[in-house]
Symmetry: C2
């Protein structure tokens, strides 16, 4: 039975509900379980480089679009119980080391905030639940570490779930950020900026929503999945090396990004796709330029990525305007922004340039796309040798909301015993 | 018969000899023919971007290594005759449009310098030969436009040959530069800097030798030819777009290159391979970073290029020092610097990572390389999936001298009639 949150269970807006398994309720050993989902976000002004490795404070502000969870999300269940003897975590069904420094940083931070809240609000001693150990289980519905910002969704979901079970209502930027910098941007829906802040303690390095998910309903996002291989250089090590060795990165952070942030916010507020798309592409390119300026150099783009870049520029040149824009994170997959009236034609252009292999019927995932013919003029304008199977599949999605709480107990990834449920 | 230069034929140091075909000598229609060769140069501090498109003045100084002409050279014959009714040019056996602006700029400039010399030195009216039309033929012994700086060797050779037939002894930087910026660096052997200069008229934008070809005899240069395809974005258009759109390029030119020039000259003077190699790699990477920061972005590196980069870093990591360095121009071919004692092992590593196809016996061109075994430790350290036929062949060469004059008339590419000789 899913009941409303008990006295010790936090409420957070309309979603603030933990469910207590009835077995737990009946005894004096309350077991509080919450399951949340959190979205992936895609930066259009890129974050690359920390000024503080411990607190995860960035060298520049960044701005992202939150993707819809109907297509991409992390689901996390957090359960606390006085019967648990240790903190434990399962990722995608496999138990992982809870001692990982970033997970520890999140746990420490959420418990600090929970204690702070109680001491601020009440005279009472902190509730027992603050000393309860937590069991955490988390699954992604997409491949991890393939440049799809899985850690951002993961740590946002972790922070959000922990906040529910431990009763934290304050801004969670810091908790999520300590897990993975860009995770703080996954705490909100729509268009989100992560302000770099100025303070040494990072208190002003927070995410805030620039515009809600309803702001630009025509905007569509296509993820062109090139490869699900694990990337060679992880982003943590990569950005560290970049900060240490790239003269261009320092210049970018100090002299280029501030004006780009202001410009991007303006384009979003005005729903100016030309401006938004061009700046998105320029900033992606500049981020990858600073990777190449790193020593030894880092290359996240593959030849297929470059062919997608080429295709987008040809497509836009044919139309005489920026109808499609690409951005690439720390991996070869392309994320494409466009408007709903252009999706069908662009997908046809991708199919033409990258003829699907045997998975032709599963080439498109996510939002439906009506088949569209490709004009001979556009075919000629693309002028590329087709690259069969260069793109594995396309996920069609749109801008979406921030983290959600799932009310039904059958959504929990952990059973009443605090252990992972068998996979269905 | 090749005779010494006549009164109207210039002398330029020990090489200053034009040969007059005897048929021409016997008549009153002197026909002066000169054949010169000029080297390819490879920049280790890159030139990318002009501050003056007309005069070809760069936004930063650059520094290059002149490659030996035993392996790579352009050969050019220039013939002047009062019988010629128009200027004509043949490139690689095919007549081309002499009206091309850059060829015209070179011709105009050399004739201006020739007139200036006469008016400076003599009271006599300028010799008739100054009004003679010229026939030019030029051949490369390597594929053009494949990122091997063919235009640099070509315009250096053109400038040098024209100087011989028209009797110009002054610095030829400006003549060569008007053809192709980096051509001025091919006017000298060894290690050459092109000082960007400050004057608006470009008079101080000149090449000068930093160290002669004999300075660092152990230095070897390997050209890993990845592809002989014509590149997508020519360097002229590419650098123009970069200057217009890349914020990083402007910063590089103003704030990064000056210190790198000084550092590179120091490393060369001290024959410090570690410093030379590392800075060479960093500057190549930064140049390609600014290409990527260009909008639309420019990519000259292919996946094979990136594999070579990776191989070099692994090779160096295995040895715990920089024993090999790469640099890439506006194309996917890698140019490798190393010392003579490392060539055999590195070539073995390349053979291992890029197993030659059916051309195994012609995989190595140029200087001989003794076969060397590859240790199991190094093989493991390289740790790469071999890419069969990824590298087409390797040209092994070394630092070489500047332009040369060929004394034998059979070297002439044009016959006594001023037309191309039949190909042998």
């Amino acid at each position: 039975m899913a009941g409303p949150a008990g006295a010790r269970v936090p409420t957070r807006g309309r979603c603030g509900q933990g469910s207590q398994y009835s077995s737990a309720m009946a005894s004096e050993k309350p077991l509080v379980a919450v399951t949340c989902t959190a979205p992936v976000n895609i930066a259009v002004i890129k974050y690359w480089g920390k000024r503080d490795e411990e607190l995860i404070l960035p060298i520049n502000s960044s701005l992202s679009v939150t993707l819809h969870q109907d297509q991409l999300k992390t689901t996390t269940t957090a359960v606390i119980s006085k019967d648990f003897t240790e903190d434990r975590i399962w990722l995608n069904g496999r138990e992982e080391d809870i001692g990982q420094p970033r997970i520890q940083a999140c746990l420490r931070e959420i418990r600090r905030l929970a204690r702070k809240r109680r001491s601020d609000e009440e005279e009472d001693p902190p509730p027992l639940s603050l000393s309860y150990k937590v069991h955490i289980a988390s699954v992604n519905n997409f491949p991890t570490a393939a440049g799809l910002a899985s850690s951002a969704a993961g740590y946002a979901c972790l922070a959000y779930s922990l906040a529910q079970v431990y009763g934290v209502e304050s801004d969670l930027s810091e908790v999520a950020r300590r897990g993975s910098g860009s995770a703080c941007r996954s705490l909100y829906g729509g268009f989100v900026e992560w302000q770099m802040g100025e303070q040494a303690d990072g208190k002003d390095s927070v995410a805030r929503q620039v515009a809600p998910e309803s702001h630009w309903p025509e905007l569509r996002v296509l993820i062109l999945v090139v490869s699900a291989e694990k990337k060679l250089t992880g982003s943590t090590v990569g950005m560290q090396t970049s900060v240490e060795t790239s003269p261009l990165l320092k210049f970018r952070a100090e002299a280029v990004v501030p004006a780009r942030m202001a410009e991007m916010i303006r384009h979003i507020k005005e729903r100016n796709f030309q401006g938004f798309g061009q700046l998105t592409m320029k900033d992606s390119n500049q981020f990858h330029a600073t990777c190449l300026d790193t020593f030894p150099p880092i290359s996240y783009l593959s030849d297929i990525s470059r062919r997608v870049i080429h295709l987008v520029h040809r497509f836009n040149a044919h139309h005489g305007q920026t109808k499609v824009a690409y951005t690439f994170d720390a991996g070869p997959n392309a994320v494409i922004f466009t408007l709903d009236d252009t999706v069908a034609e662009f997908v046809a252009a991708v199919r033409h340039s990258f003829p699907p292999g045997s998975n032709g019927d599963k080439f498109l995932k996510g939002l439906p796309v009506r088949p569209a013919p490709l004009s001979e003029e556009l075919k000629a304008a693309l002028g590329v040798e087709p690259t069969p199977s260069g793109i594995r599949y396309i996920i069609v999605t749109q801008v979406g909301p921030g983290p959600q709480i799932l009310d039904h107990p059958h959504a929990h990834l952990l059973g009443p015993d605090g252990l992972p449920k068998p996979m269905p």
